[in-house]
Structures are given as C-alpha cells and as structure tokens.
Point group: D2
Chain length 470, copies 4
C-alpha cells in the first residue's frame, strides 16, 4: 500500500483519551474520536483500554476504519480508553512503533500515547542504556515510560512530574494507569491538547473537532506546562511547569489542524480566512478568479477573495477516493500522482487570470505541476499566493520537515521560486501577517520553521526522523 503524498509537511500524530467509568463500549467512543483525528496520522491506529488497572490494547498499521472491527472493539472493555493515530513517514514504518505504548512496571500497567518530539530523547536513551535499560521501539514514549518507571516509589502523578523534569521538546501526552486518565502538555504548549466533558467523565483530544462526534462539550485547552488528572467526574489541574514561553505550533493553523477545531482560543477556520485576507493585502494582484489548491488552500482562498473582491471559484477538482494505491509507484506513477488527485476545471479557468492559493510550499514539486496544468487548460495568468511564509528551517518538535537541501524556501529567493514553478507572480504571507491572522499580536506561537527562532535549544543537526531511521 503506497500513500499518494503531496508536497506538504506531515503531522506526527493525534491522541485521544476518554474516562467515563461504567460507560459501556468506551472503545467505540475512542474509535469514533480517532476518526475525527485521522487527518493527523494515517499510518497506524491504536486503542488501549484500562479496566481496574488491567490494560488491553490493539494497534495495527492502517486507517482507523481498517484497523478496528466490531470483534476487536468488543474485546476492548474498560472504564478509560486512550487512542492514537500516527502518520507514515516512509514505507519502512512498522507496527512496532505504533501507539499507544503499553508497559508493565512496579506500579502496575501503564498506557501512553504521545504527540510531539523530544529533542533530548536520544541523550536520555543513552543515559538509560548506560544503566542497562533495553528499548524495543524507536518512539519517545518508551523513553518517557522508562523515566516514569524509575520513580515507581512515588505516587503516579509525582512520578510523571519527575519524568517530565528530564525531558525537553514537544509533547501532548495522554496516559492511563490504575484508575486515572492523565493529560500533559509541554511547558511551551508546542503541541495542542484540549479537554471536553462527556456524561460521567471527560475527554482529552489533540483537537476539539473530535468532541462533535462524541457529543462532548468543549471545556478548555490544557495549558502549556499543565498536567490534568481525571478520575471519573473529578478533574484536577497540576501546573507542573507554568512559566514556559508559550509557543503553540503555528503550522497547526496553517495546515495540520482541521478548520473546525479551536486551539488555544483561536478558531483554525477564522485564522485561515484571516491569513487569506492579509495575504490579499500584502500581495494584491489584478485577476478574474481566486482558486484554491483543494482542500488545504480553500479557506484562505475564500478570505483572499473577500478581501480582494475578486470572485472565488473552483479551478482544481480533487478525486476524493484516491488515498493510497497498491500499485508500486514507479517513475511514471509519481508523475501520475498529482493527476490522480487533481484535475483542472478547464471550462472555468480558460482565458482567466487566476490567483491560486496554496497553504504552503515545501519542495515546490506539486506547485510546478499545478501551474502547468492550469496554463495547459488555457489560464491566461497564474498568480500563486501562499498563505504562510517560506519554510526555511527544520522542525524539531514533531513535524517531518525535509532536510534543508530539499526546502525550496531555504535555498531560493521568492523570485527564483516563482521562476521554478512557472507562476506569473508569487507572494508569501509574511511572518507578521501569519501571527496577526492567528493571535492578532503574535504572542504564544512557535514560528521556528519560518524564522529559525526556536523556543528552546535544539540539536545542531538531525531531527527525530533521522533518529528513528538510524
């Protein structure tokens, strides 16, 4: 099975946690919740349930709807469930690295699901290995589980806090052990995590969009540096690292998150529309129609159209059924992948001057093909507008950025890129514009992939993905 990838950065994971003692079929709820987070990871899916401290789980490669069946879900009975979706970086990914991770230790059994990336995982791992610890996976969760187990003499919440003192990086964690569901967000709040209310308990989720299908009520985000401990209808907040520089990943607003999610008080949809509007102010152009690269550019395109008064229309059609293929992607196939996914609406673009809105450009490969396709269909001009700044720096916090030599924004000027992709003009949203579109004042966001301004010290070279591939 070969995924058909576009020229986008990839989110690492999505996590969910549900605690509602006595509710039947809690694993079904987790299943539906993971459906809503499927866009955060399509490689593997897993659910672990906790019944009186006994944890059973199932995880497998594939989409949520492929991994789970009635039979499997019925086997997963418990009062607390956590779930995880993971995306496929490469074809070499294995079920060994799927989550949740379930381990047994002095304190009983524990299940963890992690979204994010630790910048010092390799270092801690080496320290632990010095003490004879063995590792069976290449995921950070195993490092965290080992740290927690070190402090098994302490109560669970304290043991977790001790572990958190050691780790640096980004993490949204959901953990279950004994009778508790625990959620943790890193001191910078790099990765999102929020709290919802359901009958008899609470839900934790990477994104609030999952609350809709669960009939859960949005309560609030977990704060940066906060741990929440849920036991049925009881929820306690432990601000274990309250003074970090808040730095939620701004790419969540650009591309990762679903538009119907709200993160740290900001609607993703509205932020994206704002981005389109500001983009129209920063890079106006005379044109006949604003079109989007579907689906990720659509919201910004609507904003651009509103601001510019140029009508919004559709110029590219997406094939909703093509996600993966069993056919080995040879050279011809890679050429085909854009065609398989997108087609031009010739009748709608012929003779027109177009503004093509994309949410981001990473390698630039897809952009070139789209401009070509539009021109071949008779578009008079194609003005590419990108609703985020050029990606110039690697992410160390859970996003699979290519090495800098493949980041077109790191190596080339905007004019060079314009020529490479064959556009009549090219404009990127400024960093200020992006910050404004989200928060109005730009506080509280990480924009390191655009600016290189990391919220913490990062390794000189390499990133998680190199680490995992070692």
């Amino acid at each position: 099975m070969y995924p058909i990838h576009f020229d986008k950065l990839k989110e690492e994971c999505g996590v969910i946690g549900i605690c509602s003692p006595g509710m039947k079929n809690i694993s079904q709820l987790a299943y539906f919740g993971l459906h809503a987070l499927q866009h955060r990871g399509q490689e593997s899916a897993g659910i672990a349930v906790n019944q009186d401290g006994k944890i059973t789980y199932y995880k497998e490669m594939g989409l949520v709807q492929e991994v789970f069946s009635d039979t499997v879900l019925q086997r997963l009975q418990g009062d607390i469930a956590i779930g995880h979706v993971r995306y496929s970086t490469t074809g070499e990914s294995y079920v060994t690295n799927a989550q949740p991770l379930v381990v047994h230790y002095k304190g009983g059994s524990i299940a963890l699901a992690h979204n994010g990336n630790l910048v010092n995982a390799q270092q801690i791992r080496e320290e632990l290995e010095e003490h004879g610890v063995i590792f069976q996976t290449s995921i950070d969760s195993e490092v965290i589980a080992n740290l927690i187990a070190r402090y098994n003499a302490m109560p669970m919440e304290e043991a977790i806090q001790e572990a958190l003192k050691k780790i640096r990086g980004s993490y949204a964690l959901v953990i279950t052990c004994r009778d508790k569901l625990i959620g943790v967000r890193d001191p910078n709040g790099l990765r999102p995590l929020c709290i919802g209310k359901i009958e008899g308990g609470y839900v934790l989720s990477s994104e609030s969009c999952a609350f809709h299908v669960l009939n859960a009520e949005f309560i609030r985000d977990v704060e940066a540096g906060e741990m929440v401990v849920i036991d049925g209808n009881d929820i306690r907040s432990i601000p274990y690292a309250p003074n970090g520089r808040k730095a939620l990943c701004s790419f969540e607003f650009v591309y990762f998150a679903r538009p119907d999610s709200v993160m740290d008080g900001r609607s993703v949809y509205i932020s994206r529309r704002n981005a389109g509007r500001i983009l129209a102010q920063e890079h106006p152009v005379e044109a006949d129609m604003v079109i989007a690269v579907p689906d990720s550019g659509t919201v910004a395109a609507i904003g651009y159209a509103e601001e510019s008064k140029i009508p919004f229309g559709e110029g590219l059609m997406k094939n909703r059924y093509v996600g993966r293929t069993f056919i080995q992607p040879d050279q011809r196939m890679r050429e085909l992948s854009v065609r398989l996914k997108l087609n031009v609406l010739k009748e709608n673009v012929k003779g027109k001057r177009l503004v093509l809105i994309d949410d981001s450009i990473v390698r630039g490969t897809t952009s070139r093909r789209l401009v070509d396709m539009l021109k071949a269909a008779g578009a008079k001009e194609v003005h590419v507008r990108v609703s985020s700044p050029p990606v110039k720096f690697s992410c160390y916090f859970g996003i699979d950025t290519p090495t800098r030599k493949n980041l077109v924004g790191a190596l080339h000027s905007v004019e060079e890129i314009r020529q490479m992709i064959g556009a009549d003009s090219l404009g990127y949203l400024s960093i200020e514009g992006l910050m404004k579109s989200i928060h109005m004042d730009g506080q509280g966001l990480c924009n390191a992939c655009f600016s290189g301004d990391y919220p913490m010290e990062v390794p000189k070279e390499g990133n998680k993905f190199l680490f995992e591939k070692r």
Copy 2:
C-alpha cells in the same frame, strides 16, 4: 464493511474501455481510469483484458485501490481493456454480480461492461428462459450477452445491433471481443459515454474526467443511438438508432458526475454553478452567508453567492477519511453517521443568517440533522435552497431511487418539507431552471424523476433493484 450513506440517489456504475494495441500495461491504464470513475460506484471493481481474442479478467468487491495489486494487474496483459465500477445498493451484494461479464460463445470470447438499466430485461430473460437459457447472475449484461450470442452467425457489429433492437432502457456499454473495442449508447442517450484519443488508440469512458489521468484528449461524446467500433487507430461510427428522443439523465448534472466532466457538450461544473445562480433568482433571501452541504452542494453555492451577492463561506466541515466502517451500524451509529461525516464551523456560523445549499433532497433525513446542527451552533436563520427540483418519481434507468413512500418530495408539499427539516425557508430549483442551467433550452434531457415524463414506456411497478433482489 459498512458504507456510510448520505441522503443521496445512487449512480449504478461507471465504465471504461481502452484500445491501444502494443501498449504495455494497458490494465494499469484501466486501473487509473477507474480511479477517476470511482465516484460512480464503490461496491466492486473489475477489469478484463483482451489479447488476440483471449480474455482474462479480475473483479472483486471493494474500491479500485483495494481490488487491484501489482500482481493482479501484471497478470492482465492485452491490447484492449475494459473496466467497471459498481456501487453497493445493499450489504447483500455479491461478487457474482460484479462486472465486466466475460462469456464464451460461438464467436469466441466477449467481455461486457454496462452502465444503465433495461426496462424489459425481465421480459427478455423470461423469453430466453423459455428457450432453455440459463442465467448465472442478475445483471442486465448477461441478458445482452445472450442476445448477442443468438446472432453468432452474423459479424459481431451486426450481432450487437440485432441484440440492441430487442432491449429497451438505458445503457452505456463497452464491449471487447476479437480485436475490437466497441462502445454503445442507448437511443435516448440516457447514460453518458464519451471518446478520448490516446497514443495508438482510443479510450471510452462514462465521464471525460477520466481522460486527464490517462493523458487522453477528449474527442466527443458517443451519440444517442450510436455504436463506435475501435480497432487501434481506426474508429468507425454506426448510427444504429439515430432518431431517438435525446434524454441524457439530468441528475448527472445535479449530483452524479464529477464537476470536471463535460457531458454532451455541457460542463458539469458550469451547469451546477448556473443552477446556483438561477436558484438565487428563483428563491432570493436576505442572509449573511451562503454555505454548502459539502462537497456536492459547493458549486451551486458558489453560483448562488455570485448571483445574490451574499458572501460564500464554509459552515460545514467534512471528514475526508470516513467512507466506510467495520463497525456494525446499530441505531446509535446511524445517528452518528452524519456527525462522523460533517461538523459545524461554529465560529463561522454563530449569529449568522445562512443560506444552506444542497444539491438534492431525497428522504430528508440528513437535512433535518444539518439544520439542527447549524441552529445548535448559533445560526440565527437557516434558509435551505436545493439546486434541483423535488424528486417525485422512481427512476427506471439505472438510479437507485427509494420507493415513493420514502421520497419526501412525492408525498409532501414544500411547506410541509420545510417544517419537517426545521428550516426558516425552503426553495427548490424549478424544472425549467434546471433545464436552463444545463442546456439553456432544456432539450435533450431526461427529467422524469422530477416530472414523471419518462422518455419511454416504463413498467407499472418495480424497478431494476426490485428485480435484482427477487
């Protein structure tokens, strides 16, 4: 595996045919072509290839990308390929009824793929059975194959024409036998079929959108009552029934076809946008935002917005990953299915007066839930506008319409429906409006499901689906 269905009519099938002698991997081309027709049927997929008259084939339940693998495609070697996708009417559908149908007869081997429905299939079948004919499936193609075989003393093209004289109903057929690829469209042209040019040969397809991925050039539609016979670069036209009343299914423009297809000279996209514009003229309303039921209402919504000057926006978010589920759909699940697929963009609809554009309303069940969801999210008013007329009559030509007692448009007045779905106002496009949106003058379309004006005599009761289920 349970499909998550919405309140839509269902297309029967999509067909493709490729003839390019000497081209390697023609089955791969058919595979990619079927991807582009996947929206016309998700139940089963099949490909048959013809090498010097010897036909090999593979068909199975599932999506195109699930049915075919490298191994399977490599086994399918030939100069001509035909392919078929079929949709799932019910969970009881079996691979026996998958297409193409491959049969052996006096004249050699023949493979057929059929989109449409014969109104006299049952009658012909009974006549054939009188003569001792056996049937192994419940598909019309087997009736057609038997008729062709009756005339095995004639040249193939004549035998097919003799068979066509006997059948009545809708059909777009692709057939391969000996060294030929043959395409046929019924005398009314009820179901679409068009011709494309590729290197060394030709392509036939239900929709022109498949030509894009095949790098094929659109030539023209097969005419109503026309047979085309393709042998490599040779293509011959046989107008076997040239004087029929032209009656292409207007629901292709409303919902079935992909917007990037062109049918009988009309762009589906432009027709839909026109429908939205005319809808705005026929049923104007004061509102703050025009939103669509994604994705099928989007194009008309853009048209409505343009005409009404009310801004287009997004109010409902679709989960692109949820297509099917392995979880048995119990009562709670059916309640969930709309939630699994759609979520409200609360921030964008709160306090607003909305125009909600849907392409059609069949049973009305989904509409009620969407209006509820939007109101619960704070929408001040929800004005539902439907870019097609009320569906009041059963289709006998290949569309799975519910029985009349489940067709809300057949039983209730517009005002009654408005109350049922809880909308503040409700407006349907008129039949004239729909005709105008497509053809300007309304000639050449079947609108029987709206008007009851069938282009031929139809059975008093029952339709294909009852027949198949007997």
Copy 3:
C-alpha cells in the same frame, strides 16, 4: 500460495449432498462433510443451500477450513445443501471454475456439483454454441446445466434424464432444485457416489468416509446408471441407464480414496493391504525391513510385510505441516520440495536391506530422490515395489494424467525405470493382481490407465485438462 506436489495422479473433485428439511445449520454439516473429502481436492471449496427453491451459495479458492467461517455458514440457511471440493491442476486456476455451479432458468434455480469428466463436453458445447448459448466457465457442469434447462417443460427428473442421454463420460453428480436433492452416477459407474442416512433425511457423498463425521449410516452405493431422488425421508431410485459395463476407477483403490471408505462393496483399506500381499507374492525379495512412502504406501506396505514375513518399519518421516508455501518455487525450491515433506529415519535404515513400497509411479522423479536419500542414509539395498501396475495411458474420466511423454511407464521398460530411479530391484503389481486385490474377479473396474482398455470410445487426443486450458 504454491502447493507442494508429489509424483501422484490427481483426483478431480469430491461432492457431497445433504437433505434434511427442518434441520438447523445444514451448511455446517456440509462443511464437516467436505472436510472428510478434502483429500479429493484442495484448490477450491463451495457449498450451496436450497431453501424452498431459493439457492444461496459461497465458493472460494482454498481449503475447506480457509474458505468457510461462522459468518459465511450462518448466511447459508436451507433444507438441502450440496458441496464440492476441487483440486488445483495449475496455478492458473480461478474461482470462476469453482463449484457448485448455481444457475437460474425457466424451472427455477438449480445447483450442481460434479465429479468426473465428459468426453463429449466440447462437442456438446459447440452444438449449444451453435444455438447461441454462452458459457461463463470451462467446467462440464455448465454444459450439463444448459442441457437440463433445454427440457424445462418436463418435470425435473425427466429433464435431467434427457440431459444425461446426451452426455458421455464419467460423472458423479449431486443436484438440488425446488425441494429435491438428486444424485446421479454415470452408466459405467466410473466415479463413486454413495448414500447415507441421517436424521430426517439422506446424505450423498463421493466416499463413505464422510458419513463418520456426519453421524450418518451407510446405506449403499448409487448404482452405475442410477439416479436417486431425495425429498426428506423419501428416496426414489430411477435406473436411467441400467445396462452399462460397470467400470469403477481402479485408481480410487490404488491412491485416491481414503482407506476408511468402502466403494461398491469393497473396503479400500483391505484392497490396499491385499495389493501389498499379492505384490509380495509376485515380487518377493530378501530384505530386513519393509517401509512405505508415507502415507499412501503404508497400507500396502503392511500387507507386503505380513505376506513376506519381513518386519514392517518406518524409514521415511513425513512433515505433516507442510502443504503449501507462499514462497515462489524456484529451481532450488523444487529440489527442496521432497526434503520439505520427507526425511529419512537414518538410525532405522542404516545397514539394512529395504523394501520400499509406493502406491504408484507416474513421472518417477520423486522415486529417484527417495532412493538416493535412503542410500545416503546408509541403506544397503533398496528394493522398490509398486502396489499398482505401470501407468501407461491417459485418463479421460477425471484424472489429471500427464501427457504420455511424461509417463515413465509408457516410455520405458521396468528395467529402464529401475536404472533411472537407482533401485536395486523394481517390481510392479500386475493388472491381474490389482483386480484380484479389489474384486477378487476383476469385474466392474476401469483399468484403462494401465491397459488402454477404455470402457467407452475416447477422443483421439487431448483430455479434459487440455480442454480447460485452451
């Protein structure tokens, strides 16, 4: 999945039929019955059930235990069930040719399962094709079904008899339609079929060994040229062709049938032991131990040991788990296949003079390897004794014999074969000896593969398998 084949002739199929109105889970009974017939065919398996004339079925490639699950069997509800197992001639076999065949015709629906081969199938097929009949498979059952359907004006039993008048060859048929289960055996009784009694009805089976697991009581064999019509506890005999020359396939006794079956009044086990005894009389030798090629040579080896007073022992060990492999059988693999299946018991054969009993030698390839293995393990002498005569002629009645140029017995003298396989001596059972071992007087058996004396006129060239592979 690649079968690991030995140097044996292959049976075509096994059939079962069960009629017991009102019994729950009749498909489970058919499932268990097919288990007992699995040795007659490992390629595909199928079951069709008849409920008040409505037939549902399931058939798939694979072993009985792989094809059927609880879910599938529960869907197959009815009063009558028929089942079929088919063996894999080549890797190119497809589910299209799996049985039972289910067809619909003027008289309703009918399901057929056939063991055997018609020598005039191709001729009838051509005649039918002249009349415009189409064929969807390459199995004889489809020819038979078409013939029956021709006579749909007659009562079922008469229609079947009319059809039988046309066909020549070997057949054991089980048929169900309306409220009846019908069994037919060809006028020569070439293929076996027998009747058992269960609560509320009757069972038909290729072999009586299936009655054990069904708790059925053996009643009698269907006679050559007899049709039996079962309707619950009623059973009627129609001797439609009573005067044929009785000619049950003698290879059933040599190799195909399970030793615990009784055919036409003769125990397969006792016949095989007799064959071993007579072989010892015909080809005595001084030796220390009698060993068998497991498992097919074991019974004859016990007989040989008894008669010769040489102790029976084991010299070759069979791996019971190796049946098929997913690994493509390259050259090295083919070399391995004997090793994967058989190992020498070195400690038991070292320094001994062995009599190695095999039931038959077809190509001679395996024999050479076994003699080599035994000698390499230190056997002083290896005297090969074969409990059947040399196979010299092709079978036209349902056995997949290789072409004569691959039949070592057709091309070489016994002494030449001895040298080819490296044995110290070689002796085959005589035709008379084989006849004596089974029937005492040799009446009623077909021994054409040994003698060339066919019980009916056969085609000059070609056999069923060539026909199917055309």
Copy 4:
C-alpha cells in the same frame, strides 16, 4: 481460527539459528528450518536477521507458511538469522508475545529466541521492576534481555553469562547481536539444542530434523550448561555451568520431538520403538492386532507388535487436512473434534481383539471416545497400552500441563482410569521402562511429570502459564 486439540501435552516452542556470512537469502533457510520445527509450535512464527549488527524482523500469528511470503523474506537480509515457532495455549494469545524478541541497548541490538521456562522469571522481574525496569511482554526472553543489558560494559559473551547466573529453569536460547550467533542450553539441559554445519557457517536447532531440509550436517548437541559462540566458520564452546545434573525432558522422546530427530545421542524413533517393546514386556495381552492412535502412537505400536508377535495394523484413520477451523467450537463441535480427525477402519477391526497404543494420556477424554468408536465398529476387545507412565505432576520447564485436578493420572488409579475410558485392560509403561527405552540406564533425563522428582526447586504453585495469564 480455532485449533483442534487432542488430549496431549503441548510443547512451548522451537528455535533455530543460522550463521553464514555472505550467503544470500538466509531468511529463506530459516523459513525452511522453521517448517521442520512446526510441530513444536503452531501459534506464531518469527524470523530476525542480523546484518552488521542491524536487526530486522517479522513475526505474526499463524503457521510458518501463513506468516511468511516472498515479499517479507526478501526484506529480511542478513548474515545471521534466528527463528522461532510458538504454540497456542489459548485463544487469548497475542502477537506481542511472539518471538524472536528484538531489543536495543547500550551494546547495540540483540535478538533472542527462547524455548523453555524460567522458574524464577517472576521473581527476577519483580526485582528488576524495583529498579524501574518496564516490561512490554509476558515472555521470559524479555527478562533475559534485561539481565544481559545490565552487563553492557562487559563483552557480549560475558554479559550473557552474568545473566545466566541469575536465571533458573529450562532454556534453549539462540541469540544474535553484532556479528555473532550464540546458542545456550541450561545447566540441566532440560530443553534440547543441537549444532549443524552448513556451507560457510553453522546452524543451531531445537531438533536435528531441521538439518535435513537445510542440507546441514549434524555435528553434536549443545551440552547442558554450554554456550556456543558462532562467527561464520568459527565456533567456540564456553562451558559456563558444566556440572549441572543432566535432565533432558523425557517427554521429548515420548511425544514432542519428531521421530527423525536425534537428541543427546539417542534417536527419538528408536527410543519410541523401544518403549513399545518394553511396554509389550511389561503389559502383555492376547490379541489379534496392534493398532496405534495415529500418528503419535505409531512407532511404539510397531515396537509393541514386534515384541509381542501380534501383527501391526491400522484401525484408526487420520484426516491429514484438518488442523484448524474457523467455526466456533460449540459443544457439538467439541464432540465432533475427535470424529473430524479420526475415523475407524471398520472392516479391519470388526471382530478383532485390539491392542491400542497411545503415547500418553493426559485428561483421558480422547481415549474414552476412541475406545467407544472401536467397540461400536465391532472390535471384540480393546486393550489400551500407553508408552509412557501416568502424567501426575505439573511441569515447570516449558510444557503446558493442565492443573492437577485435570490430570487423570494424578487423581485416579490405573483401574479407575481403565473403567473411565471403557477399555478391557489398561497398561502404562513404567518410569524405569521409559528410562530404559531412551538411555538404557535412565541417567540424564527429567521425568518429573511422572515422578515429581524435579531437577531443581520449583515454585509451590503456579507455573509459567498462570504467570503469563495474569
């Protein structure tokens, strides 16, 4: 998938290791080797390969031929391979517990496969957990890997020896790390392990029968308390615990091992035949025929026949195709399981006085059914002879014995058991007889399951299987 179990004790596992640097497709060799060990475990299968210290692996539930395909094996490239088969204790077994176990630690990566059971695994685990160690499986291998990792400062061979000092119980281990293949046998030699020579390297295997298919030459057994370190053609012996009481599991000779294996210098086949002979001396009886419960009783039956001069024959026929079923084993099914597997050769047993040889009786459930079946078929007398002593005590060394309340031999006298199973007489081989059959002098064997004389201190209660099921 439900296994059809007989009334037998179950082996835990089989292991294989192959080291031959530069040989292509070493994983294919491991695959073929595991085929030969399939009788030691049918639940899961796994192979890990080591290329320059980098370990890749694949393990899954199922038979060897189901788990591995060409594609999988081609991905497993390396100079060293280890493999493992595991049997299914219950339907609750998961892939998590499949082996080999692959872990990463300070010293690099290591893969382990283990046959046996540690009696102090739980205790060590608790000690390790005290120090903060986490566990992800319930297999002993994870305990061993953790111990080895503790000593990462030492050279590998020394680290393993340090680990071995801590563990007590039974183990045959194959380990690969860096450029080495290491084999270890516990100080008592409870579980078997032997060494073979192949081109360019060596093979380790639970049983010598695997050497045949690998074309490997048997060299010798690994000694009790010996570690062997293999690096290509170099092999070193480290007698790390040379003075243990030798105690190879005598049940290997009774039932587990394949007859074509040689263990600690004794042929399993000859031991079993001896057991039959001595059984005839200890429990003679007047009878007409000696028959076996196939296949496990066959060798002893031949021995019994030889000694008693009563002819050996076959009375029970085994269905070679029935191993597992997808049909849920309800009550009726359990009744059926003996019938599905075994049938009586009525013609051969009718009117005869039979000696029925079984290798062992655990619960006694199958024996009762077999005696009934034989008597129902007309056997005049059925004298049951068992070629091993009554199983009276639980095993703590890797065999899944039922709790004592289900061990018929622990609760009842021989006469009581005779009555329970309905035999005319019953005789068990004595412990001395069994020892004599194997070793002549009884030294070096564990017969604790018969005698309660364990070669080391064992837990008061519980055994591995309880531990795993906690």
